[in-house]
Symmetry: C2
Subunit: 413 residues, 2 copies
């Protein structure tokens, strides 16, 4: 396992050089990475086909995540190019002032250093993570799911070669080329070289990683996301928002899991919402009150309110007013993304102030809580941590800062 510690040391050394290179140079590397990937497109597809063939017993959902389709390949290229085009997050002056003493004080964004990404067998995360890390001047160590190892090898080789052509040390991107789980344990011991670990995957995996390392971990836990249909919510908008929040993609963290319907809106809105969802094949699990409006729905148990289905299932609860809605979200939500559907400014403001989630939405699909729709470009995930980065994690969130103070001999009195 000396290999993993070598990788970490090389990443640290590469990150020191990377810190001295310009944003233009990093953007050029990202553009070249897209170009290089395009040039070895057939190699990527061939390796991916081998990965898929090597694991015939995987579930369809698993294979879907592992497969690099034309669409996903284009998406990967675009994310690299988009990252190249984004403004440089490094060197931003975050605040500054001249003190009465004449001391000029400023807080400046700088790279974190070395970031280790531990993630599922999803090849697009390999390129996304490299794009976001490099954009923000960080070296990255990639450990993707073992089932994607052949695809990741091709992707990493192409990106490293492009980085070198742009004048970056190629070790700014490194792949842990091992399917041995001990490699992860070894990675988590490299606290002298690695500044941040970002694990993605199941809750238990993330928890095990967070508790098994001295390196700071940016956690991406589950999304038990809510929409609250307020008493005045327009029926048509409510139907569209709930359907999109739930159905646009069911297996992701910002998909809707629980619908809260104000008792005063239920008779008007709920039947229409339920009909649209049922047409989309969504199973509804309702509270006792819900049964009055939707006699055919499955009864919800207490467990349903705490469940991230990641499936075409939606729990539905009737609430008496916004306070009950917010209390439900506080008790059962995961602080990821929660929305209100209303035309009342008063209700909107109360919801924004009262719901303590990474994303609080008014009249918008929960599926919009993410880097692209917030204008952040490529992201490595959506943090459910409260500290450092909360919500989508893009290039700016992979920066830290330093204070620079310029004086002319100022002393402490």
């Amino acid at each position: 396992m000396t290999q993993v510690s070598d990788i970490a040391r090389r990443a640290k050394a590469a990150s020191q050089i990377l810190k001295t290179l310009s944003g233009k140079c990093r953007a050029d590397a990202l553009d070249r990475m897209a170009g290089k990937l395009l040039a070895c497109r057939e190699e990527v597809f061939a390796a991916n086909a081998e990965d898929l063939a090597a694991a015939p017993d995987l579930s369809e959902a698993f294979k879907k995540r592992l497969a690099v389709t034309d669409k996903i390949f284009d998406y990967m290229l675009n994310r690299l190019r988009e990252a190249a085009a984004l403004p440089d997050p490094v060197g931003r002056i975050l605040e500054g002032r001249t003190m009465p003493s004449g001391l000029e004080v400023r807080r400046i964004a700088v790279p974190i250093g070395v970031i280790a990404m531990i993630y599922e067998a999803r090849p697009n995360v390999t390129t996304d993570a490299a794009a976001v890390a490099l954009k923000s001047g960080n070296a990255v160590i990639l450990k993707g799911g073992s089932e994607s190892i052949r695809t990741n090898r091709v992707l990493a080789r192409a990106m490293r070669s492009a980085a070198a052509e742009a004048g970056l040390p190629e070790d700014v991107i490194q792949l842990i080329d091992s399917t041995d789980h001990a490699a992860v344990s070894e990675l988590l011991k490299q606290e002298k070289s690695i500044d941040l670990v970002i694990p993605r995957g199941g809750k238990s995996l993330i928890r095990a990683i967070a508790e098994g390392t001295r390196i700071p971990v940016l956690k991406h836990y589950d999304g038990i996301c809510h929409q609250y249909i307020a008493r005045d919510a327009p029926t048509e908008m409510a139907v569209k928002l709930v359907v999109n929040s739930k159905c646009q993609r069911v297996e992701v963290c910002n998909a809707l899991e629980t619908l809260l319907v104000d008792a005063e809106a239920a008779a008007r809105v709920l039947p229409a919402v339920a009909e649209a969802l049922t047409q989309k094949g969504v199973e509804l699990r309702g509270c006792g009150e819900t049964k009055k409006f939707l006699p055919g729905c499955v009864p919800a148990t207490e467990e349903d309110w705490d469940t991230e289905y990641l499936a075409p299932i939606l729990s539905v609860r009737i609430v008496r007013g916004i306070d009950e809605a917010m209390a439900h979200i506080a008790q059962h939500g995961s602080g990821h993304t929660d929305g209100i559907i209303t035309n009342s400014l008063d209700l909107a403001e109360r919801f924004i102030a009262g719901v303590d989630s990474a994303s609080v939405l008014v009249n918008a699909s929960t599926r919009l809580s993410g880097g692209g729709d917030y204008g952040m470009g490529a992201v490595v995930g959506i943090s459910t941590d409260r500290l450092h980065a909360r919500g989508p994690v893009g290039p700016a969130e992979l920066c830290t800062y330093k204070w620079v103070a310029i004086g002319s001999g100022q002393l402490r009195a």
Copy 2:
């Protein structure tokens, strides 16, 4: 030990209410806290005298930290009043944009929640921590050194009563009224109620706390601070800055510990610097080269470069150029505060870009790296972590943020 979990639960409940109160209300509470403390001034001094009398065997340095003098009492009041007068850090719009879809996206500063401070027997930290936490809308649990328990009881009672008068739940400030060390272990288990632990004290204590809890810990490790006298450094300014950095207060984290002198400046500057330091009673420990200029100095060992003396001792090393200076800082520094003394814009810019420390100074005393001199008001300490908060930790650093997105029915395509 149910007591500690009760305290944590009550803090959580109080923090939920505190989040809904205005900045004006919090500022009013801080002002009243100063007023209340002033009203029970004699009680504070009496309790502090009891604390001092109860521990006659403490070192002079320990007693100095424990003692509430007139000057320290005034300082405590001022810090509360200054915090009251600072702009409200909660609700700041940190960034915002309207997306092409019409979605209005903004990132807003919000309180972290519940903060536990674990610190030495220094009564002024009790009021400082309460001031910074409350200013940023957080509930705070205070666990000061056992030797200060009587003083802290009076301080906490006064601050709680003032908070209640201002309409805040009094449990926004709570003291762990126990000298039992098990109380700390119990506190570190309250991950459901406590959002952040800030330990202050020795390195081994902080490390033990960080490794013994699932709660995020903001670490305040040591400051091995450097000044680099560049080849062109003006002699007089260099003497004044080095003396102030080292001698203004020797026992604090931003005091100077190692002086790096460019070989080209040594003959001109080093004798004058050494004379001024020797007059102040500072022991110099020099490298082999240093001995050529200061034949009487103590020889430095390798260990000296990695030592935070917190005492009137300074290690001195001659370096050949700025790169050697920066390499020394990278290898031996603690990333706290490092400065350069120069009139060269080129050298200043290279030093700022190349030194990766929380504070990088040009022609300023290391003692200026702190909340007051950076215009941040009261702070709870100086973080040596890279994530979330780096350098001085004031009210803005005790905030997190949430994303708010306001739409009119926007869906994900």
